[in-house]
Structures are given as structure tokens and as C-alpha cells.
């Protein structure tokens, strides 16, 4: 277990270094010279140029520059945002919780809804299957930025069940009432994706020898379903969850804009529109780290759930 884990951690660290280096390298790709790009249309006073040269270590070679940036990151210094004229870490910290609430609530909807549809469709052929898959097709074609407004229009404006916009005052109850609609909008396409994967996985598992054997041995159907089919079929779905996670954080940009919520995704898009390199770079770093951490968690979960991996690695 330990060697397996260490290898995964090493691979994760490598991913983080490679991705951040690529992002750092992107500064060279910008049209024109880096100073002109970083000035971003602001007047080029000598002091400002000097400050930018110092902040981005522009006189140093690439590697030195990268190392000094990553050292700064470890000391909690993510740089200064040009667009907001504020400390990047402060900007991110104040929005992090909001986005996490949003993503976690959305994950609940995705799991409940994707797994229910997928398992139902996988176990029953005919009407239930076609109905579930038709639902999945329609939902996967409703992007979060359109779904948000449909939900706002129906459930906030017409029915008045939920607040239309805003992220709540920070307490859990207000977060839940404010985040329910955005989380559902975010869950549409990912939930449909989970449903399809689950269905395919259930079908494969149902046709496998161990299930046929269990059935022939006279084990009751519901026991075959719960212990032999579903338990095995969920393994690929779990790793899908890990893959979905970062995409989900980035996609919060859509619902955060639609619902006027102050979160990481919205911040990222504002930063991109303003060409605020320091901010985009910092958020990307956080996203890559969360990607690595989540996938590490998925690996560990696999280890716990699937004894076959244990014997394979050991």
C-alpha cells in the first residue's frame, strides 16, 4: 500500500510541476513583449515597469523565474492581481468556501440523480431504459448557462421557492437555499454523463460470469443486484467522479455568472477577460492541486473498495 501510495503522490507532484511550468511558459507566448502584456494598457511609468520586472523576475532566465514563483507560492505569496489591484491570495481565499459549497451540493445532485437514472436504466430493459436515457440526452444538452436561467425563471421568479441571485451570507442554511438552483444547473450535464456511464457499467457487469453463476445458484435477485452487480459496476463511476471534479469547479464560472455568485470560477473568467496573468496562474495552480488531491483520494477509495487492486499491487 505504501509503495503504491508514494508512486501516486510522486505522479501527482509531477503533474503539478509540469502543468504550472506550462502555464508559466505561456507568458512567453503572449504577443508583444511581456512588459507590454503585463502592463495591460496601463500607462508605462518607469516605476511600474520596474515593479513588474521585479514581480515577475523578468530579467532572470525561465527556470530561476519559475523557481522563485513556486518558492513564493510555498510562502503563501501568490502575487498581486493587476485587475483588482489586490493580493491574489486574499481574492481567492474570500471566494473559496462559496465555490466549495456549490461544487459539493452539486456533487450530491449528480450522484443521486446520475446513479438512480443509470442503475434503473441498466437493470431494466425496455421502457424504463429508453425513458431514462432520453432524459439523460435532453439534460446533457442543457448547458449550465441556459439551465441556470430556466431554473431562475421557474423556481425563483415564478414560484419564489429559492432566491434568484446571490451566494448567501456565509451561513450553511443560507448557502443551501442560495446554492440549490445553481448546483442543480451545474449537475445537469455531469449527471447525464454519470447516468450513461453507470448504465453501461451495469450492463457489462450483469452479463458477466460471476453474476450468471450467482443467479443460477438461486441467490435472490435483489441480493445479486446489490452485492454482485451494483457494487462492481460503481467502481468505474467513482474514478469518473475524480475526473469530473476539476471540470466542475471550472464550470462554476457559468452558474456564478448567471446567479451573480462571488466564487472562484467567476473570478477566473473575470481575470481572463482582464488578462490578469497572476490571478489566472494562481487559480490554475489551485485547480491542478485539487485535481491531483481528488484523484489521489479516488485511488485510495479504490484500494478500500476493491480487494483485487490490493492483491495486484502487493
Amino acid at each position: 500500500m505504501r509503495r503504491y501510495l508514494w508512486r501516486r503522490i510522486g505522479l501527482g507532484a509531477l503533474t503539478i510541476v509540469a502543468t504550472t511550468m506550462l502555464v508559466h511558459l505561456a507568458l512567453y507566448l503572449a504577443p508583444g513583449d511581456p512588459i507590454g502584456y503585463l502592463l495591460n494598457g496601463r500607462p508605462a511609468t518607469p516605476e511600474r515597469i520596474a515593479a513588474l520586472r521585479a514581480q515577475y523576475n523578468l530579467d532572470e532566465p525561465f527556470f530561476t523565474r519559475y523557481v522563485s514563483w513556486i518558492t513564493g507560492v510555498f510562502q503563501g505569496d501568490l502575487g498581486t492581481s493587476a485587475a483588482f489591484n489586490a493580493d491574489v491570495s486574499t481574492l481567492i481565499a474570500s471566494r473559496f468556501q462559496t465555490t466549495m459549497y456549490l461544487v459539493l451540493i452539486s456533487f450530491v445532485f449528480i450522484s443521486v440523480f446520475g446513479l438512480t437514472l443509470g442503475i434503473l436504466a441498466g437493470l431494466h430493459k425496455g421502457g424504463i431504459d429508453s425513458f431514462s436515457m432520453a432524459t439523460a440526452t435532453i439534460l446533457s444538452s442543457i448547458p449550465a448557462f441556459v439551465g441556470s436561467f430556466i431554473l431562475i425563471n421557474v423556481f425563483a421568479l415564478q414560484l419564489g421557492w429559492f432566491p434568484a441571485i446571490g451566494g448567501g451570507d456565509g451561513s450553511l442554511s443560507s448557502a443551501i437555499s442560495h446554492m440549490t438552483l445553481p448546483a442543480i444547473a451545474l449537475a445537469f450535464s455531469a449527471g447525464a454523463f454519470v447516468a450513461r456511464t453507470t448504465r453501461a457499467s451495469i450492463r457489462v457487469e450483469s452479463a458477466s460470469e460471476h453474476v450468471v453463476t450467482a443467479t443460477v445458484r438461486g441467490i435472490p435477485r435483489n441480493k445479486v443486484v446489490s452485492r454482485h452487480i451494483v457494487r462492481n459496476a460503481l467502481l468505474p463511476v467513482i474514478s469518473l467522479g475524480g475526473l469530473l471534479f476539476v471540470g466542475l469547479i471550472v464550470s462554476t464560472a457559468f452558474v456564478e455568472q448567471a446567479f451573480a455568485i462571488n466564487g472562484i470560477g467567476g473570478l477566473l473568467v473575470v481575470a481572463a477577460r482582464q488578462q490578469d496573468f497572476a490571478l489566472v496562474q494562481a487559480i490554475t495552480l489551485i485547480l491542478v492541486i485539487s485535481f491531483v488531491v481528488v484523484n489521489l483520494a479516488v485511488d485510495v477509495l479504490y484500494w478500500i473498495l476493491d480487494p483485487r487492486i490490493r492483491s495486484e499491487v502487493a
Binding site: 507566448l29 440526452t137 444538452s141 442543457i142 434568484a164 473568467v269
Partner: protein, 285 residues
């Protein structure tokens, strides 16, 4: 009849079975046909100038001659929707064509060369597949500025790996078949075998994938335009119209957002249905 011709004949039944699209499939084809006509002739069909601002008509509802009413700046919504079809569909066309060309080339190169070429390409693809397209688009527009072309380039980069991965396994299966070996022994050149035999046999799979991709492409590009890092206003586009109508929707004028959003969803659903049916008909699910 040479061996090559026999081999080509193997998959050619796929045109005949198109009639199995079903009612829903043909309905989807019809919807896309209408949208296609609008995309081509939209500016000629539009009853009014889509960019003519008249603040006196801000958020005025439907009146004779203006079936959908007006937007926040008093522009005719119906005209903007018609004209917007072109920008909303041209982007996905370019994106699908470029992705299909690059993805197919990578897949065939990997399957044909095998060995190190395959290993290298597949490793690159495996890493890139996990990178969210939206994040890539955000990074590129941070560096190069926001425009439709940057968005298309970013999504091409994001889509290509997964397409290449899907196609590679089919291409590997195909290159391992006897007819390819036979053609090689008969002395046909690589390019002859690839273009005359391999590609036609892979075509159903590639076409089905491209059609499914078109739906995603429409939504993703519309989404980037919605976020302000795709098509730039005042150009009429379904994605930017969803965003422009947002404040109106909160004030009780949801027409712009919901109409533009419905066009996007309808396009996406239609492509999904057709792609799904074709894949099933051709047996390339």
C-alpha cells in the same frame, strides 16, 4: 475485381440503412436543416436591422412585425436570433472540422506506425484528456485576448485528444485486419491503403463522432461567448444573447435569454439524437 475493391465493399451498406433514423431522427434532421438555412440566409431573412438601437423600445414585448419584441437596447429580437444563427453555427463547424482532421491524423499515424510513435502519442493524449477544455480556453484567452478564434483554437486542443483516443482503437483494429496485410503484400503504397481503404472503412465511425461532437461544440462555444471570452458583442450570437438577456430576465423579460438558449439546446439535442442513431445504425457505438 481486386482484393482492394472487395475490402472497400465491406462497410458500404451504411448509406442504405439511413432510412432507419426513425421519426425522432428525421425530426432532428429537419430542425438542423431549418437552422442551416437560417444560418446561410439569416441576414436576408431578418425583417429588421439586427443592430439598430432604439431605446424607446427597450424591453417592449411582441408587437405586429416584431414577433419576439425587443431587447434591452430596443433591437429587434427575432432579427438578432436569425442573424445570430450564423455566428453560433460557423464556430462549431470550424471546430469540428479542425478537430476531426487533427484527431484522425494522430489516430491513424499512431495505429499505422505503432511502436514508439504510438506510445508517445498515446501518452500525450492520456495526459491531455484530463485537462478541462474550459480551463484551456480561459488560459489561452488570458494570453492572447478574448475572441472567437482563440476559443475555437482552445477547444480544438481540448477535443482532439479524446477523439484521437477513440479513433486510435478503431484504427488499430482495422490496420490489424487481413485486407490491410494483403494490400501491403500486393505492393500498394501506405498512402494508397490509408486514403482508399482505411479511411473509407473508418468513415462511419468518424462521421458519427463528428456529429456528436458538433452538439457539444455548439454548447461549449456558446458558453464561452456567454462568459465573454468567445464571440464579442455587439455581434449577434446565441451565447452572447443569453448573457445580454440576463438582467432583463430578472426584471421579468425572459424572452431574449430563453429564446437564444432554446436555439442552442435544440441544436445540441438534434445533433445528439442524430449522432446516437447513426452510431447505432452503423454499429459503431
Amino acid at each position: 475485381m481486386s482484393i482492394g475493391q472487395i475490402a472497400i465493399g465491406r462497410n458500404r451498406g451504411y448509406r442504405k440503412r439511413l432510412s432507419k433514423l426513425g421519426l425522432l431522427g428525421w425530426l432532428a434532421v429537419f430542425v438542423l436543416f431549418i437552422f442551416g438555412v437560417i444560418a446561410i440566409f439569416g441576414s436576408a431573412l431578418a425583417p429588421h436591422d439586427p443592430n439598430k438601437i432604439d431605446l424607446a423600445y427597450s424591453y417592449v414585448g411582441p408587437i405586429p412585425g416584431h414577433p419576439l419584441g425587443f431587447d434591452e437596447l430596443g433591437r429587434d429580437l427575432f432579427s438578432r436570433l436569425l442573424v445570430g444563427a450564423r455566428t453560433s453555427l460557423i464556430g462549431p463547424i470550424v471546430l469540428v472540422i479542425s478537430t476531426t482532421l487533427i484527431g484522425t491524423s494522430i489516430a491513424i499515424l499512431a495505429a499505422w506506425r505503432r511502436g514508439w510513435t504510438d506510445a508517445g502519442l498515446s501518452a500525450g493524449v492520456d495526459i491531455a484528456v484530463a485537462f478541462p477544455g474550459l480551463l484551456l480556453a480561459i488560459l489561452l484567452s488570458t494570453v492572447f485576448g478574448a475572441s472567437l478564434w482563440v476559443a475555437i483554437a482552445a477547444l480544438t486542443l481540448a477535443y482532439t485528444p479524446s477523439l484521437a483516443r477513440l479513433l486510435r482503437s478503431s484504427a488499430l483494429r482495422e490496420t490489424g485486419m487481413d485486407y490491410v496485410k494483403a494490400l501491403k503484400v500486393l505492393g500498394f503504397s501506405d498512402s494508397q491503403i490509408i486514403f482508399k481503404h482505411l479511411l473509407p472503412n473508418l468513415a462511419p465511425f468518424i462521421i458519427a463522432q463528428a456529429i456528436i461532437m458538433f452538439g457539444y461544440a455548439t454548447l461549449d462555444l456558446g458558453g464561452l461567448s456567454f462568459l465573454g471570452i468567445g464571440v464579442q458583442p455587439p455581434t449577434a450570437d446565441w451565447g452572447t444573447m443569453v448573457a445580454a438577456g440576463a438582467s432583463g430576465l430578472l426584471q421579468g423579460y425572459p424572452t431574449q435569454t430563453l429564446a437564444a438558449g432554446s436555439c442552442l439546446v435544440l441544436t445540441a439535442v438534434s445533433f445528439a439524437v442524430i449522432g446516437d442513431r447513426l452510431a447505432r445504425i452503423w454499429g459503431v457505438e
